[in-house]
Symmetry: C2
Amino acid sequence: MAVKVFIADDHYMVVEGIRSMLLTEMNIEWMGHAMNAASCLAFLHLQQPDVLLLDINLPDKSGIDLCKEIKEKYPDIHILGLSSFNQQSYIQKMIQNGASGYVLKNASLEEIVKAIEVAMRGDIFLSSEASVTMRENKDAQIPVITRREKEVLKLIAEGLTNKQMAEKLFISTTTVDTHRNNLLSKFNVKNTANLIRMAVQFDFI
Amino acid sequence: MAVKVFIADDHYMVVEGIRSMLLTEMNIEWMGHAMNAASCLAFLHLQQPDVLLLDINLPDKSGIDLCKEIKEKYPDIHILGLSSFNQQSYIQKMIQNGASGYVLKNASLEEIVKAIEVAMRGDIFLSSEASVTMRENKDAQIPVITRREKEVLKLIAEGLTNKQMAEKLFISTTTVDTHRNNLLSKFNVKNTANLIRMAVQFDFI
DNA sequence: GTGAACCTCCCCTTTTTCCATGATTTTGAA
DNA sequence: TTCAAAATCATGGAAAAAGGGGAGGTTCAC
């Protein structure tokens, strides 16, 4: 029985590349592709693949959120994250949301086939570079920040001062200052410059 | 006479995707691919394609710098930038460095073929989304910063204070302050947070 | 309903950044 | 060689952030 594979990625070349690579694999059945989250969901409503290759950067929805959504509706589908960004934050989030693994877009045919096999067995596959990233950065955890802190963080990135933020959020400047200091300690950084750089890296902005 | 095409991209899927797409085009001759700048240059030393599809994010060198280098050595090669980041800064830099155009990685077969044709005629091709980006952001120019300013910018992003930077660069803190203020005015921003965000966006960090 | 986490607020001090202005030396391209 | 840009340094003052401590009210899950 061939493994049914579907892919959701808005990069046509990536779709073509994977399709072209998987053509040679006899025990893999290519079901097609979707260029955005909406049409992916529409397809899944009609039929379900065994393995779904899911881009983390779809135009209409974050692949990370979509992953969670799909796993809730169709727990039997094995999802493999697909991305060119070798970033620990993404990897962790995808796995947390039920993905069976994570493949980088410079993966070879062997890696993809391996990932599909591993996912089908119910195990988790991380492409070599991705697993290196996870090991390297195991101490650089993604901070857990609150809703308010996230708001403040975004305003800081926009260049607002504590005073301006206070006016915008209808709170006192000292409160903003507290949130700000909490952000610094949660991100384990020394100043704003550092904070913003990390925030961008962790995709908070 | 078929157009000879070569590609430099470390994303195997992209390479496969484009190869697969161009297979159907009879007047295009696929010369092969390189996964990094070094092997790309080595190939060009032996033979030259008519059109070179060049990723802007090669592992060993920025495609933007590589573009300049290649155009100096082989002015007859038409270079098409290739990227998944629809960012004006990249587009402008590639064109400035002699590229004949810029294709996004979600381009269709038609777009790529068109880009190759336009490039062969000596004109410039921008994929539809890329040209929209250029028009939208025409007022958000990429600042031209000096070598020293770039150094300071990176150290700011790493969280160093003026004093620490001064020690590291063997200059006085007032000089660092001058560079810093120049950066702020060149980026047209009000504070560090803003600066870092823009710098990340413009790929200075 | 209890506790932990969150949000809110305040005070104080020190450090750092931001801003304006002006000047000398070095460097690199025309 | 010459001229502009870049890099260097300085003074002084205003504004903001960083760092520390303490504290009351709310919310939400167990």
